[in-house]
């Protein structure tokens, strides 16, 4: 069971893109004048956060599609996307923490963005635990579909609820709060590197998702074969 040709090509190009983006981050992008080299974590930090949010949005959409159509295919996308999303959200939080230590002088602060990211991470870990706790596969898919919807809806609320307190997280894209600590302006080279990282991570997400769905499909085929073997 080899992956098909297009998946192999995609995997190899993703590898090249990651190498190229690493080169850009460390050699092409200039050193930030105040924060120094630690600022370079920013490129993958934002990209990982973006992929986390994208993965959970995809989960929401395919969860609804599963409940409406009852097609197992959508559920396979949902579980695959959640797993990838949790990994990237973990990367996002960890890299942010590494950056915060020298810049904010603390590993952690209960800022709206940080808290929202953590609650989001917990929601989808709960999603994975829910699936694990259910034995009947059909019920597992239905319940996961409902939780995939409920979880996504509560994320923006969490952000709003914590927004009642002031944020110190910098906003690089869009309107910025002058009180944010660690704020900086991007040069052209930085901007190129930044968008290239975003692009790389989006491609990386697609590749991983494809592989993961393929594994899910193989696993269900194995399960069918096994049950046939038992019945014969």
């Amino acid at each position: 069971m080899q992956p098909n040709r297009s998946l192999r090509i995609l995997t190899m190009s993703t590898g090249l893109l990651v190498l190229l983006s690493l080169y850009m981050i460390f050699f092409y992008a200039p050193r930030e004048i105040i924060m120094g080299d630690v600022q370079r974590v920013f490129y993958y930090h934002v990209a990982a956060g973006w992929v986390g949010a994208l993965a959970f949005l995809v989960t929401l959409i395919v969860s609804i599609l599963y409940l409406v159509t009852n097609n197992v295919r959508w559920d396979q996308v949902a579980i695959s996307s959640v797993e990838i999303g949790v990994v990237f959200t973990t990367m996002n939080i960890a890299s942010g923490s590494i950056w915060a230590r020298p810049i904010w002088n603390t590993w952690w602060t209960w800022d709206p963005r940080l808290t929202t990211a953590t609650v989001m991470w917990l929601l989808y870990v709960a999603y994975l635990m829910l699936r694990q706790g259910l034995e009947d596969p059909e019920r597992q898919r239905r319940f996961a579909g409902v939780y995939g919807i409920v979880a996504f809806v509560s994320v923006p609320f969490t952000f709003l609820a914590i927004r009642i307190w002031r944020t110190i997280h910098p906003v690089i894209i869009g309107s910025s709060d002058p009180a944010a600590e660690g704020q900086f302006d991007m040069t052209t080279r930085m901007r190129t590197t930044f968008f290239f990282s975003l692009f790389t991570f989006t491609v990386l997400y697609t590749t991983l998702l494809w592989h993961r769905i393929r594994i899910e499909g193989l696993a269900s085929r194995v399960a069918i074969m096994k049950s046939r073997l038992w019945n014969d």
């Binding site: 409940l67 509560s154 009642i164």
Partner: protein, 234 residues
């Protein structure tokens, strides 16, 4: 797939079914007083533990009162929510309820109503006790409104997730794991509003958090109604 037209009944029947289910739970509770008394004693224990673990003096007590009260209710309500469907499942009466010729969402509303009443009863007893123990006056209509709205939102999403958790392997453990992260916004906004009200803030200051609680209540309510059918066995 469920066919929604299959069980379609006139409106009056729908609300009667809701009332019957809720009344059944309330009667059962009146006989054994299991859930309400457990929640009440548990609440007192949580308040006691907070008092010792935070070593509260007078000014500290005023600062943390809203938070302590909400955490107490969240924990106690989780106990009650766990029982809503678990009791039915253990007695095998959940199948009986599903066989009844009523709309599935009537089952949700009935369960929601009875659980909400149980939690409210506990709150009605605990709030005066709490205000004596922490010597803070809590008989403020705005505070009671926030308490009502926050509890409603928590119970709505809690009832939905309890219907899920009851089928999992470690159901008592699973409910808080599923529920707490989803309930973070309603709890945070309610704590914020309660703390401001107890500190004597005017409507202008607390309107934001209260609006958030109301919007959360409405949206989670809508989602619960739309998705509850999928949580019930066909």
């Amino acid at each position: 797939m469920l066919d929604p037209t299959e069980h379609q009944l006139p409106k009056a029947n729908f609300w009667r079914a809701v009332g019957t289910i809720a009344w059944k739970d309330l009667t059962a509770e009146l006989r054994n007083k299991e859930i309400v008394s457990a929640m009440f004693i548990f609440s007192l224990l949580v308040i006691l533990i907070f008092n010792f673990s935070l070593e509260l003096d007078k000014s500290a007590r005023e600062n943390v009162a809203a938070g302590v009260l909400w955490v107490t209710f969240i924990f106690a309500a989780t106990l009650g929510l766990n029982r809503t469907f678990a009791a039915e499942k253990d007695r095998g009466s959940l199948d009986g309820l599903l066989l009844a010729p009523i709309d599935r969402s009537a089952l949700f509303f009935g369960k929601l109503l009875s659980t909400f009443v149980f939690i409210l009863i506990v709150e009605i007893i605990v709030v005066p006790v709490f205000s004596v123990l922490y010597s803070i006056s809590m008989f403020n209509p705005m505070f009671l409104l926030v308490l009502l709205l926050g509890t409603l939102g928590y119970t709505v999403v809690g009832t939905l997730l309890a219907a899920m958790a009851v089928h999992t392997r470690a159901r008592e453990v699973m409910l808080p794991i599923l529920l707490f992260p989803v309930a973070v916004p309603v709890v945070m906004a309610a704590v914020r509003a309660s703390a401001d009200i107890l500190a004597g803030a005017k409507w202008g200051r607390v309107a934001g958090p209260i609006n958030l609680v109301v919007v959360y209540d409405i949206i989670l309510f809508a989602i619960a109604i739309m998705t509850f059918d999928y949580l019930i066995e066909e």
